[in-house]
Symmetry: C2
Subunit: 148 residues, 2 copies
DNA sequence: CTAAGGTCGTTTGCCGTCTAACGATTACGC
DNA sequence: GCGTAATCGTTAGACGGCAAACGACCTTAG
């Protein structure tokens, strides 16, 4: 049970739980805030575009969009020019959540990093960035099937 | 989109994906290695005990145990003295995975933290521990309903 | 102009996770 | 001793996430 993997995983679990509690107060589920964030910047994005922006697969976005449409947060509409495409449009309710959700998220970040000095915070970000890069390289390197 | 929450979440996603790829080579799914780890140390644990050790709910362990029993990794048996209890026992296959899985996990940790100096690593662990504590306090504080 | 191929979104099925409701068994109070 | 309460595991249903198969649509080659 390696130290870092263990601690990082447990920490992520707690952070997710804290974020979930905050989102629940606004009627959202974990991850839905990210989907909304994409539409807040680019209303009318397609499921594929959203998936790419979130580093998630398209079926995941489709499922979430269906539930969020039922919840009245967004609407599906097919693109006029290219009928394969579907565009997701925010409703009034979807737009209205922007300020409160962004504030909630800023507050959470602040609470969670409150015990860190500015130096510690910088070093933490730097170290995490390195880890992020290493993990990314690890994933991109292996799956390449050098056929031929 | 706060910096830390974003980076931490994306990093975790990559780390999970890397762990999943490694586990898949041994026929395991994400999280099943943790369940096995508990049994490697305390074979014959109950679902409740495993859940507590993993910081997970009991239904989660029950479902995983069912699938892992089907996969031939463990066996269910009721406790003789207390018939409410169920104990999970490793099979030969479950035991046999210990060495390879632990090695895989050590290797992953090493690869992922390869770009960090020893000082960076220490500071990272320290900072994550603080975050962990803050998030934990945040979760334990709120849910307490001060009724009366 | 038509057939083949590429690009989408959707469906299906699985996994881990949670909460809530259910059922069986043991322990406790009277 | 018997009924009530506490303690378990299980089931049911929802959610985010993934991979694979499917179907509708557009593009392009011939």
């Amino acid at each position: 049970m390696p130290e870092f993997l263990d601690l990082h995983g447990r920490t992520n679990k707690l952070v997710r739980a804290a974020a979930d509690a905050a989102l629940r107060r606004h009627g959202l589920h974990l991850g839905q805030d990210h989907l909304l964030a994409v539409l807040w910047e680019h209303d009318g994005s397609t499921p594929g575009e959203v998936a790419a922006a979130l580093n998630v697969t398209t079926p995941t976005v489709v499922k979430m969009a269906t539930r969020m449409a039922t919840a009245g947060l967004l609407t599906r509409r097919r693109d006029d020019r290219d009928n394969r495409l579907v565009r997701l449009w925010l409703t009034e309710a979807g737009h209205a959540l922007r300020e409160p959700i962004e504030a909630e998220r800023r507050l959470l970040e602040q609470k969670i990093t409150a015990d860190l000095t500015e130096t510690e915070r910088r070093h933490l970000m730097s170290a995490l960035a390195k880890i992020h890069r290493s993990a990314n390289d690890l994933l991109e390197g292996a799956p390449i099937d050098t056929a031929g």
